[in-house]
Symmetry: C2
Subunit: 336 residues, 2 copies
């Protein structure tokens, strides 16, 4: 068990590789700073479907097929698929990956699911359970508004602390075949609850969990902010980032110069006003696939701690007055 480090982390003795990635995104994302980097975008956000849910499933399917194509493998060669989304009963994933017929594990970790899927894929490859695993997550602005908020036709006004759910899906083939990016370790997150109850301020709900996982990664691995070129959170946004930086400072680390948030990267705050920034299972996934991994591949960044963040709630728990705890999973990505 020499791979097990500290209380929550694993450092792989045979670190798996990220063999290929794919990003599929919507029209607003296409107009943003990363627009030209996505593999596929769509102008009406329906991706050929009749409903937002089916559109999200189609995005997942396209992302998987693209990632498989880039890895030059067939779906039958993938041992297991790890996937999830934000919708009730993970229906975007079930309907999205069905056609691939890969044995699958359905996941739910709110917007941290891309980290959960990459962690389990990497753990399975490193354990020798297969040559290729596929990790996929998605979110869709239309289906998420329907699931969590108000009918779009109401044109409800949102507070400045609210996020804009990213329409996008990212897929990752993880395996044993050598590339220039390895998953060298993972830090599995705990549920962290500071008692916040405002579903229109997810950044504040998730920041404590991000802090917990980042600091745990440092302590489990005997590292600090200097050991990473970037520490990337999923979708804390502008409100969550300032809370995170303060909380991490309270633990004796200063990640100010190393921190990047996918929710603040995917949209342009000046021209695309999304209030607190982007969010959703797809936000961290497409930013990782299109923007972060290519930099690691080229060696521009040598080591990155990728920490997608999730807010654990449902409309039922919210209506019943429950708090909104957060969770975040840490993935250590290294150039090699």
């Amino acid at each position: 068990m020499d791979q097990v480090k500290g209380s929550q982390s694993i450092v792989f003795s045979s670190a798996p590789y990220i063999i290929s990635t794919a990003s599929v995104a919507g029209s607003k994302e296409a107009e943003g700073p990363l627009g030209k980097l996505f593999d596929m975008t769509n102008q009406d956000d329906l991706f050929g479907a009749q409903t937002w849910e089916e559109a999200e499933s189609n995005m997942q399917k396209e992302a998987c097929v693209l990632a498989l194509g880039k890895a030059h493998i067939r779906a039958e060669e993938v041992r297991y698929l790890f996937g999830g989304d934000l919708l009730r009963q993970g229906i975007a994933t079930s309907m999205g990956v069905e056609a691939l017929q890969i044995p699958m594990f359905g996941l739910y970790g709110a917007c941290s699911t891309s980290g959960e899927a990459l962690a389990l894929s990497s753990m399975s490859v490193a354990a020798g359970y297969g040559e290729y695993m596929l990790a996929v997550t998605s979110s869709h602005f239309g289906s998420a508004e329907k699931e969590f908020r108000f009918p779009l036709g109401y044109a409800s006004q949102r507070p400045l602390s609210a996020h804009w759910t990213v329409t996008g899906s990212g897929a990752f083939v993880v395996g044993t075949r050598k590339t220039h990016v390895r998953v060298s370790g993972v830090t599995v997150g705990r549920i962290v609850d500071y008692g916040l109850k405002d579903s229109q301020n997810m950044g504040a709900c998730m920041a404590p969990a991000a802090m917990d996982t980042i600091v745990r990664n440092f302590r489990d691995l005997g590292r600090c902010e200097d050991d990473y070129d970037r520490i990337v959170t999923g979708d804390l946004g502008y409100v969550g980032q300032s809370i995170l930086l303060d909380l991490v400072k309270g633990q004796g680390y200063d990640i100010r110069k190393k921190h990047m948030d996918c929710g603040m990267t995917i949209f342009d705050q000046e021209t695309q006003d999304t209030h607190a920034g982007g969010s959703g299972c797809g936000c961290a996934a497409v930013t990782l696939a299109s923007f972060i991994l290519p930099k690691i591949e080229k060696g521009e960044w040598k080591r990155v701690l990728f920490v997608p963040t999730g807010a654990l709630m449902s409309t039922v728990s919210f209506n019943e007055g429950a708090s909104i705890p957060g969770i975040a999973h840490g993935i250590v990505l290294e150039h090699c």
Copy 2:
């Protein structure tokens, strides 16, 4: 990779043990055939809570605490927790296991989730990622009716093919410490869709997936029905069972004498009329914990194939006319 068998299975070279189990169940379950076998039951089904959702969370927490107590370990000694339930955004699990503060992976596999959690726990232990893992799932009649069907006050009549969601939670400590039950292998399920759309006939929706996983297990491992003392499905019920037996026969196997279904075992059909039988994430979990594993422990059954079955749907996918595919995960349990 000598552990990888066929296209979907793993046979562990160091098979993990089931160290302890716990079952918590509701009042109707307490009156059923397994009533005296559960570790804890409750008469008002609220488990000290104000809402059905919180009641379900409390069941999960109690099941985890009981299982940890029986294993004589503290929560801090558990490396990772794998858990899930049927509610939107898996909220029963998030709120239920929060207090334990174990790093966790949230899962969704509908009523197959106990198989998914046991598979990933076993894979993680066998890979050397920790000494102890905790697998937990739950369902609650009240929260499930609210999530998927009609307000109980309507007193809607249900068709004979409908199931009765089990109020219960089962928890399992999986680890390296020797006991008399091992998880010797797993067969991870694929999504199987025969195009059925009737959410009041889940047995029919899930039977093809159960067949697929059982037959795949036979073929991957070079086995047949004679190699198992029991082949146990999760919640196919009376309708699903007859379909399963026919489908499996069509593949050249006769499991008639070996088949048992948790949904048909947990309630008494004569006195507790539950139509097609029990269902839910908790159904297979509490039946495994209270009835099946003790028999394997004593050596009464030497080898059992446990195959919890899930129907992948949500109220949204149902309303949008989508079909209801199934998934089933196979867990091979052996006396040692």
